[in-house]
């Protein structure tokens, strides 16, 4: 169960990173960066 959860999480994190680097508007990049923070904390099982 945990592996599936972490795999989904890693995939969503990858999409966010892709979005961060493909978006051209700074506001969209800032949004992607904000979403990345909790995803990282979850991926490393910190919170």
């Amino acid at each position: 169960m945990k592996i599936i959860y972490l795999t989904i999480l890693a995939a969503v994190l990858g999409l966010c990173l892709w979005n961060l680097f493909s978006a051209k508007k700074p506001s969209l990049q800032a949004t992607a960066a904000m979403v990345i923070v909790p995803l990282l904390l979850r991926l490393f099982l910190i919170n």
Binding site: L20, Q29, I36
Partner: protein
């Protein structure tokens, strides 16, 4: 490199720094706070010594044993659980105060200050609770974590939609699956929370614990408050104890353990073991639904204008005025209750006494504050 890639790298760097700062703060909650070994502590074991499956898990926790010199296999014993719900700070601090001050002269005292060790490692989301609170001692500050009501979901996940209590089949909301006080008597191959419950039940059975006291706090709007809840087997002991506390001017109610509310210490430990289980509640505004600003001061003083207003509207089950319910009072109620339980037991069972000294009275705690009863951290 394109311009938007440079800005993306800057945003990524900011995100990594933010995650690093937040991560360090969250990880710091996994460090146990200092508890001094008081003069009465004869041994410190781990719960996994009674249930080895817990070894190395976030559910394993220290068990402080305070054994009198005269204690033998037939001697009376008491188990005190603090930190069943780490968002109920007086319960934890009262257990620490016992470890650091109690000196048994007859019988054995077992204290588990962090009964749900995992729940100390995080806060309840969306509550705005402080991570820690500080009590000043003559030699320095003592810092205690303010944790969550439930096991950390990092350690036990996912929650089911409906939590089915293992031994009764009772259905509760899914998040109650991480509530230690809904999991008794526990399950050896269950969730982490059920395993901790099982470990505590094993300790009670193997050590033939005479009395088990589960320390709690409750919202001022919760009906069972400033009260002792007792299993039918413990009711004679608890009723005499309540009278003793009332004679010390400590207002306290007595509640029977509901037959159809399962998984709680005061029900299951009485049904499944020979111990006499009681649970004590004190009023804690910092976990209430009607509270205003939630900070360290609220945890320590209980002063909250919204609760004063709610009291005037007749919405509370405890008296509430501008003085709040300070932590000295709440810890004092717990410590006085424990001392009175031991006194009442000894009065009725002089051949198997349970006596300990070194504890402050309720009046002393109100007078002196908590600080002088807590040891300063070792440098």
């Amino acid at each position: 490199m394109k311009k938007h890639h440079i800005s993306a790298l800057i945003f990524l760097a900011i995100a990594l720094v933010a995650a690093g700062i937040a991560g360090a703060s969250f990880l710091s909650m996994r460090e146990n706070e200092y508890i001094a070994k008081g003069p009465g502590v004869s041994e410190v074991k781990m719960l996994s010594d009674w249930f080895p499956a817990l070894a190395g898990s976030p559910g394993d926790t220290e068990v402080y044993i305070l054994r009198s010199e005269s204690s033998n296999d037939d001697a009376a014993s008491m188990l005190v659980l603090g930190g069943t719900h780490p968002n109920e700070p007086a319960a934890f601090v009262a257990a620490v105060l016992l470890v650091e001050n109690a000196q048994p002269s007859a019988g054995t005292l077992y204290v588990i200050p962090r009964a749900n060790n995992s729940a100390f490692t995080h806060n309840d989301p969306q509550e705005g609770s402080p991570q820690r609170f500080t009590i000043k001692t003559p030699d320095g500050d003592r810092v205690f974590r303010f944790g969550s009501r439930a096991t950390n979901p990092v350690h036990q996940w996912p929650d089911p939609d409906v939590y089915i209590h293992a031994s009764s089949g009772q259905s509760l909301s899914g998040n109650e699956t991480r509530n230690l006080n809904r999991g008794y008597p526990g399950k050896a191959d269950g969730t982490l929370t059920e395993k901790v419950c099982y470990g505590i039940t094993e300790l009670i059975k193997k050590e033939a614990i005479t009395i088990t006291v589960d320390l709690h706090e409750a919202s001022p709007e919760y009906p069972v408050n400033m009260a002792m809840v007792a299993h039918p087997n413990a009711m004679p002991l608890a009723s005499e104890t309540v009278i003793g506390l009332e004679m010390q001017d400590i207002a306290i109610g007595l509640e029977p353990s509901p037959v159809n509310l399962r998984g709680l210490t005061h029900r299951e430990l009485g049904d499944f073991t020979d111990t006499l289980p009681v649970l004590m509640e004190t009023p804690n505004a910092s976990q209430g639904r009607l509270r205003g600003k939630t900070d360290e001061a609220l945890v320590l003083t209980g002063i909250d204008p919204w609760y004063v207003k709610a009291e005037k509207l007749g919405r509370l089950y405890v008296p509430y005025d501008g003085n709040g319910h300070p932590i000295e009072e709440r810890v004092g109620r717990h410590v006085a209750g424990i001392a009175e339980l031991a006194f009442t037991w000894t009065l009725n069972n002089p051949e198997r006494p349970l006596e300990f000294s070194g504890l402050p009275s309720y009046a002393e705690l109100l007078d002196t504050g908590l600080g002088i009863w807590l040891k300063a951290p070792e440098q």
